[in-house]
C-alpha cells in the first residue's frame, strides 16, 4: 500500500479547502477595514473581528446620542437630525387630577429624544386648554388630537372592565391620522410607539426601537402580576413564545408598551386597527399585531429581551377628601 501517496492525496484534498475558508473569512472583514480607514482620521481604530465591530458600532451610536444629550441642558428638544428615523409616539390621555403631572413628567423624558413626534389624543369632546397650553410650552414636535369615547364604552368608576379597553378609540384615531398624513404605501421612514401617560420610559428604549424593520419587542416591568413580562427568544435570536403567567397562549402576549411598529408597515396595511368590540382582557395588542406581522417576524431588542427599559408604573389616585362637596380650593387654579 503506498502510504505516502495516500497522505499526499489527503493533503491535496484538505489544503485548498482550508485556504478557501480562511480567505472567505478574511474577505468578510476587509471591506469593513477599508471603510474604517476613513474613520481612522477621527481617532478610532478598529482591527477586531466582525462581532466586536458590530458591538462597537452600536456603542458608537449610543456614544453619539449620549454626547448630544449631556450637552443639551435646556428644555428644548435636541436638534432635528436628517439621518435618524422619526419616532411617532401615540399617547391617549384623559382628564383627571394627576393628568397635568403625568404629562409634565412624560414631556421631561420625551424632550431628550431626538426626532420625536408626539401624537397626543385626548378622550374629550374638545381639545382642552390645559393640554394645549402644556404642549405649546414644551417646544416638542407634536400633534394634538381628540376623540371622545362614547358613554356606553367608558369604564365605569374605577373597575377595569376587560370588555372595554381604555384608549382604543384614541389610538385608532392616531393611526388614522398617520395614514391620512403620509398616504398609503409611502416610503416615509418612521417608527410608531404607543406610550401611555403614566408609564416610565428610559431613554435607551427609544434608541432601541429606532432600528425596527417590522415590529420589535422587548420586556416590560410590572405587568401581568410579575416583576416583568418578556418575549421568549431562542439562540437564533427569534421570538418563539411569551414568558408570562397570564394567558401565555395569546397570539401576542405583550403589553402596549412592549412593542413598536415600523411606519411603513402601518401605512402598507391600512385596515389594521385595534379591535373595539368583543376583545377579551389582554388581547388588545394581539388584535392589532396579528394583522401586521407573524411571530417569526418579530425583532427582539434590549439585548435579546434581557434588559428592562420600560416600566408599567401606575399613579395612585390622590385622596381629595378634604375638598368636600363644594371644593375647598380655588377651581381657577390649574393642577
Amino acid at each position: 500500500m503506498p502510504k505516502r501517496r495516500d497522505i499526499v492525496a489527503i493533503v491535496l484534498i484538505v489544503l485548498p479547502w482550508t485556504l478557501l475558508i480562511t480567505v472567505w473569512h478574511q474577505s468578510a472583514i476587509t471591506p469593513l477595514l477599508a471603510t474604517q480607514k476613513d474613520d481612522r482620521r477621527d481617532g478610532r481604530s478598529n482591527s477586531r473581528n466582525t462581532f466586536a465591530l458590530k458591538e462597537s458600532c452600536s456603542l458608537q451610536n449610543r456614544d453619539i446620542v449620549e454626547v448630544v444629550r449631556t450637552e443639551y441642558v435646556y428644555s428644548r428638544p435636541p436638534p432635528w437630525s436628517d439621518v435618524l428615523p422619526t419616532i411617532h409616539v401615540i399617547t391617549p390621555t384623559y382628564s383627571r387630577p394627576v393628568q397635568k403631572a403625568e404629562l409634565t413628567r412624560l414631556t421631561n423624558t420625551l424632550l431628550h429624544v431626538p426626532n420625536l413626534h408626539w401624537l397626543l389624543v385626548e378622550d374629550s369632546q374638545r381639545r382642552t386648554t390645559l393640554v394645549g397650553r402644556l404642549l405649546h410650552e414644551t417646544g416638542l414636535n407634536y400633534t394634538h388630537l381628540n376623540v371622545e369615547t362614547p358613554r356606553n364604552y367608558k369604564v365605569r368608576g374605577d373597575t377595569r372592565d376587560p370588555r372595554i379597553p381604555r384608549g382604543t378609540i384614541q389610538r385608532n384615531l392616531a393611526l388614522r391620522w398617520l395614514r391620512e398624513t403620509f398616504g398609503v404605501n409611502s416610503s416615509q421612514s418612521g417608527i410608531v410607539y404607543f406610550a401611555d401617560d403614566d408609564n416610565t420610559y428610559s431613554l435607551e428604549l427609544f434608541e432601541e426601537m429606532r432600528s425596527t424593520k417590522k415590529v420589535s419587542v422587548w420586556p416590560v416591568a410590572f405587568v401581568g402580576g410579575l416583576r416583568y413580562e418578556s418575549p421568549k427568544v431562542n439562540t437564533l435570536g427569534k421570538v418563539y413564545g411569551w414568558k408570562t403567567v397570564f394567558d401565555p397562549h395569546r397570539p401576542f402576549a405583550i403589553d402596549m408598551a412592549g412593542f413598536a411598529v415600523n411606519l411603513r408597515l402601518i401605512l402598507a396595511k391600512p385596515q389594521a386597527y385595534f379591535k373595539l368590540r368583543g376583545v377579551k382582557g389582554g388581547y388588545q395588542e394581539s388584535s392589532l399585531l396579528r394583522e401586521l406581522v407573524t411571530l417569526s417576524d418579530l425583532e427582539p431588542k434590549a439585548a435579546n429581551c434581557t434588559k428592562v427599559l420600560v416600566w408599567h408604573t401606575r399613579t395612585e389616585k390622590p385622596v381629595l377628601i378634604n375638598e368636600g362637596k363644594k371644593g375647598f380650593t380655588d377651581s381657577n387654579v390649574e393642577i
Binding site: 484534498i13 478557501l20 474577505s27
Partner: protein, 333 residues
C-alpha cells in the same frame, strides 16, 4: 483492473484539485475588489459616518453660539442642591429614572441621593453614573424602630428623616472644606423620588434669599395646598389638614438658601416630631412666616405635584416564586 481504477482515481483527484485551485483564485480576485456582498454592514457604516458628520456640525454650531455669548459674561447661576432620600423597592429604578430625566433639563443642579441602606447599592450607583448629572451618592440606614414595617400605613412613621439629615450634613461638610464666597451661593431643595416637578419650579427657587414657598398639588387631601399671600407676604396657609401647624406645608413646597443652611449647622429634621410636623421641626428655628418669600406668581400656580406611585401587584410573581419558578433575579427591574 487495478491500474484502470487507479487511473480513474488519479483523474478524479486531479480534477478535484483543479476545481479547488480555480475557486481559490476566484476568491483571491474577489479580495482585491470592493465586495458588494457585505451590504448589510455598509448601510450601518454609512449611517454612522453621516451621524458623526451631523454631530460635528451641531457641536460647531454650539461652539459658535457660545463664542458670541462670551462678551456678556453673566454671573454664575446659583447651584440648586436637590436632596432625595430613596429606598429599595420595585419601582425605585423607574422613579429615579424619570426623576433624572427632569433634572437633566435644569442647569447648575447638583443631585444628592441618599439611600436608606447600610451600603451603596449597585442599582443606584449605575443609574447615577449613566444619568449624566452632577451628583453625590450617600447612604444612611434608618434605625429599625423608626422604620415602617410591611402593612404599616405610610403616615405611621416619618420617612426620609435620617437621609435628609445626612444630605444636610454632607453639604455642610463639603462647603466648609471649600472656603470662598461663591461656594456659599446656592439653594437647597428636598425632592422625594415619587413627586412630579415642572422645570419652572427650579427657576423660581433659584432666587431664594432665605426660604421661599409655593403651592404643591395633590397633597393634604386636596387638589393643592398653598400659602396665602397678602401684600407680597405670607399671612397664613390654605390647607385642609391641621392648619395650625407652624409651617403647614409639604416637603416639596419650600426651598432654602445654602447660606441659611450653613449659618445654622445644628438645624435638621426631628424624627420624633408628631405626624405632619416634620417640615415645621426643621423650619421653625430658621425663619419666621413673615420672612418667607412667595414664588410661583405669588403662590397662584401649581408647579410641583405630590404624586404617589402604586405598588405593583405581584400576586403571580409570588405564586411562581413559591414554586421556585420566579422571574430571573439577574434581570434588574
Amino acid at each position: 483492473m487495478a491500474t484502470r481504477m487507479k487511473l480513474k482515481l488519479k483523474t478524479v483527484f486531479v480534477l478535484y484539485f483543479m476545481v479547488s485551485l480555480m475557486g481559490l483564485v476566484y476568491a483571491l480576485m474577489q479580495l482585491g475588489q470592493r465586495c458588494d456582498c457585505a451590504e448589510h454592514d455598509m448601510p450601518k457604516d454609512r449611517t454612522i459616518s453621516r451621524l458623526r458628520g451631523e454631530l460635528h456640525r451641531f457641536q460647531e454650531q454650539i461652539r459658535k453660539s457660545e463664542a458670541t455669548k462670551q462678551p456678556q459674561k453673566q454671573p454664575a447661576k446659583p447651584t440648586i442642591f436637590v436632596i432625595t432620600p430613596t429606598y429599595a423597592r420595585l419601582v425605585q429604578k423607574a422613579e429615579l429614572t424619570r426623576l433624572s430625566h427632569t433634572f437633566l433639563h435644569v442647569p447648575q443642579l447638583h443631585w444628592i441621593v441618599v439611600e436608606d441602606s447600610p451600603h451603596k447599592t449597585p442599582l443606584v450607583s449605575d443609574l447615577l453614573l449613566k444619568s449624566g448629572l452632577t451628583y453625590t451618592h450617600l447612604h444612611m440606614p434608618t434605625a429599625k424602630d423608626r422604620k415602617l414595617q410591611e402593612g404599616d400605613p405610610s403616615w405611621l412613621k416619618p420617612r426620609g428623616v435620617e437621609q435628609r439629615n445626612e444630605g444636610l450634613r454632607w453639604l455642610r461638610e463639603d462647603r466648609r472644606a471649600q472656603p470662598g464666597g461663591d461656594n456659599q451661593q446656592g439653594v437647597v431643595y428636598f425632592a422625594d423620588d415619587d413627586n412630579t416637578y415642572s422645570l419652572q419650579i427650579f427657576e423660581e427657587m433659584r432666587s431664594t434669599q432665605r426660604v421661599s414657598v409655593w403651592p404643591v398639588g395633590l397633597v393634604g387631601g386636596m387638589k393643592y395646598e398653598r400659602p396665602v399671600i397678602e401684600g407680597g407676604k405670607v399671612v397664613r396657609f390654605h390647607t385642609g389638614w391641621r392648619p395650625s401647624r407652624p409651617f403647614p406645608m409639604d416637603m416639596a413646597g419650600f426651598a432654602l438658601s445654602l447660606k441659611l443652611v450653613l449659618a445654622n449647622p445644628e438645624s435638621c429634621f426631628d424624627g420624633d416630631a408628631p405626624m405632619g410636623f416634620l417640615e415645621s421641626s426643621f423650619l421653625q428655628g430658621l425663619v419666621t412666616m413673615d420672612e418667607l418669600e412667595p414664588k410661583a406668581d405669588n403662590c397662584s400656580k401649581v408647579l410641583v405635584w405630590h404624586t404617589r406611585t402604586e405598588k405593583p401587584k405581584m400576586k403571580r410573581e409570588e405564586a411562581l416564586q413559591a414554586q421556585g419558578l420566579g422571574s430571573d433575579r439577574a434581570v434588574e427591574v
